[in-house]
């Protein structure tokens, strides 16, 4: 199995980079959370709130989640196509480009070199080009691997992965397209970009990867292959169309906002297809679920996905949006979805698949640490979500009561403190995660996989017949 060594190393280094960016970016997150409670904390130019915030969001979204999803995508494609990756060298180039973009992005934002507070596209164009080039390298590599796969049928995960790798670069091009840099057209593109990157990159990638990690973990096929296909197409159609809900009641065209609100409710179709599918797959495997922290992450991620998406559909409604928009309520929602759903699926997939891949440490050794990672992460996001939801509601209620603006600051200070505590717990859990990933590093001389594939491997709809 020596020929597989480069693939394993590439996957591992991508996941390790992701874990490092997660630890780093969550420290930025805790720092800005403390600043919102204690504004004189670190009062330096390079560390002011407005400069650290995009480093935190860029670090967690483009550093942590994107790198981790890329690493897991390589893993899933490698496993389901039953062959090593097409070109490990191209994979290393992609990883290098993405890390270069992240370092350059972090440094430039510290220095105040930015396109302005345009969420998730603050990086100046040369930095964004590095990132896009990295994604394209990986996308091409995975496509070639799938073309030359050693099985007849592609497993459903690969559809989500191929989609993600064509949607993200397309989206990036539209977001950085010159000519829409002023007026209401800028708001249309901004709303579109900042939502579609969630809906057509993080969401399908996290789901696609879980379509592999969950059956592997539970050693049984997914409950319904067809529901997965429904989720794939409906997610593509609905999620692309709802970005305008970030600017409800703005001078952007009314029909655009109405489509966003209406199809936002339609999002329940892909969301609940996936939620039901994963839930029913888990039914009956309680022994594994009780034992494996990986399964805890996937179970909690599934619940969070369903509920956070339902909340998102509600938040888009015009009446609801009037109160909650501009408040911390939306920040709570964003963290619940990006962390409680997407990141939890990634954690689950790493704990489910990485020990099998590198096969140096028995998964039982990692289990107690993974369990503590889960407890800290869940406690952290829960404290964060609850405190920010209450604080957002307080803000919205005080504003609608006609109180002066400072009343909303006064009322939320204790919740800002709680937020920093929640953030601190999440950050602490990420250092446990980093430690676990480090423990799972592959040996220099890679041995053949200690755990050969067992049980039915769910490759294609025909394997779905009940056992």
């Amino acid at each position: 199995m020596d020929h597989e060594t480069p693939t394993v190393r590439l996957i591992y280094m991508t996941l390790l980079s992701a874990a490092v960016w997660l630890a780093l970016a969550s420290l930025y997150g805790v720092t800005i959370a403390v600043k919102l409670w204690m504004p004189e904390f670190l009062p330096y130019e390079f560390a002011s709130f407005g400069r650290l915030r995009p480093i935190h969001t860029g670090g967690v979204l483009l550093g942590w989640l994107t790198l981790a999803l890329v690493g897991l995508a390589i893993l899933v494609v490698y496993r389901t196509s039953r062959r090593p990756i097409w070109s490990p060298r191209l994979g290393w180039i992609g990883l290098g480009l993405m890390n270069a973009a992240l370092i350059a992005g972090t440094v430039t934002l510290h220095l105040g070199i930015t396109r302005g507070p345009l969420e998730y596209r603050e990086w100046v164009t040369p930095v964004a080009v590095l990132m896009a080039a990295g994604i394209l390298c990986h996308g091409w590599n995975l496509l070639q691997t799938l073309i030359h796969r050693r099985v007849e049928e592609m497993y459903i995960s690969n559809a989500f992965i191929l989609g993600g790798f064509v949607w993200l670069p397309t989206l990036y091009v539209i977001a950085y397209l010159p000519g829409f840099d002023r007026g209401v057209e800028h708001m249309v593109i901004q709303g579109y970009y900042m939502h579609v990157i969630l809906g057509l990159w993080f969401t399908p990638m996290a789901i696609g990867i879980t379509y592999w990690s969950l059956p592997r973990l539970l050693q049984k096929p997914i409950y319904s292959y067809s529901l997965g296909v429904v989720a794939f197409w409906s997610n593509l159609v609905f999620y692309t169309m709802i970005g305008a809900h970030h600017f409800v009641l703005s001078p952007t065209p009314w029909w655009l906002q109405s489509i966003a609100v209406l199809l936002g409710v339609g999002m329940m179709i892909p969301v609940w297809s996936t939620v039901f599918n994963f839930s029913f797959t888990m039914v009956g495997s309680w022994a594994v679920i009780r034992r494996e922290p990986a399964a805890w992450f996937i179970l909690a991620g599934t619940i969070n996905y369903g509920l956070a998406s339902l909340q998102g559909s509600l938040q888009a409604l015009r009446d609801f949006s009037q109160i909650t928009h501009f408040t911390h309520y939306t920040v709570a929602h964003a963290h619940w979805a990006a962390y409680g759903f997407a990141s939890f699926f990634v954690f689950g997939a790493v704990y489910a698949l990485l020990p099998r891949l590198t096969a140096v440490v028995d998964r039982a050794t990692i289990r107690p640490y993974a369990a503590w990672h889960f407890r800290f992460a869940l406690a952290g996001i829960t404290i964060y979500f609850v405190s920010m939801t209450i604080s957002g509601t307080v803000q919205g209620m005080r504003w609608s009561a006609g109180l002066p603006f400072v009343a909303s600051l006064d009322g939320v200070s204790p919740y800002m403190f709680a937020r920093a505590i929640g953030g601190g717990l999440m950050a602490a859990s990420h250092f446990i995660f980093l430690w676990c990933v480090w423990q799972l590093r592959p040996a220099w001389q890679l041995r053949p996989a200690a755990e050969p594939a067992r049980g039915p491997i769910p490759v294609g709809p025909e394997t779905q017949a009940p056992e």
Binding site: E40, V184, V188
Partner: protein, 194 residues
């Protein structure tokens, strides 16, 4: 044989092309085509407008650089909640802005009309130097690096001299705004709804 189902499971290239095209088509309908149309409207709106004052432009660049728009919206909705901030935003308000900063958060108040609401140079300088000196509850960062701290006597010939209590500045010292602080306040004072 060449059904969508077949392509979904057997033809990675065709699948990639199809989902890419579907996405591009939907993006055209929901983002690019409306944006192109709105761009024409924007061009018509700004035709004949005088270019922005250079100091306002420099101030806007600082506003972007410091990420002010993460906490301050410039987007007033036609709702009761937003009434303190001025009339509802119109397309014309954003037409001249490059880029517009409507924002998604109000950790601080909306600034669409701040030039009318708070036109005082001195208030703005003191508030930038340390927001707590003007609004004790504020959680805005201090932007003290846009000011020079000098002895009171040295600042005699300066147009703006900030005297603050010892909570904010060492005894006997005063703060004077740099050109960047003046540009930023010029920009803030230019934010007036017509």
């Amino acid at each position: 044989m060449f059904s969508l189902n077949y392509i979904f499971h057997r033809r990675p290239v065709a699948l990639t092309v199809i989902v890419g095209l579907v996405f591009a088509g939907l993006s055209w309908i929901i983002a690019l085509q409306p944006a192109l149309e709105l761009r024409e409207a924007t061009r018509a709106m700004i035709a004949g407008r005088a270019p922005l004052d250079p100091s306002v432009q420099r101030g806007k660049a600082i506003y972007l650089r410091e990420g002010c728009g993460y906490c301050h919206s410039q987007f007033v909705r036609p709702t009761l909640i937003d009434m303190p901030y001025g009339r509802a935003s119109r397309a014309e308000d954003y037409a001249g802005q490059q880029p517009p900063v409507p924002g998604t958060q109000r950790t601080g108040p909306d600034l669409s009309n701040v030039g009318v609401r708070q036109p005082s140079w001195m208030w703005q300088f003191l508030h930038l130097y340390n927001p707590r000196s003007m609004v004790p509850e504020s959680i805005m960062p201090s932007f003290a690096w846009y000011f020079k701290i000098v002895d009171g006597a040295e600042a005699a010939d300066q147009p703006w001299v900030l005297s603050l209590s010892e909570d904010f500045i060492p005894a006997g010292k005063v703060a004077i705004p740099t050109q960047e602080a003046i540009d930023l306040v010029t920009y803030l004072r230019s934010l007036k709804q017509e």
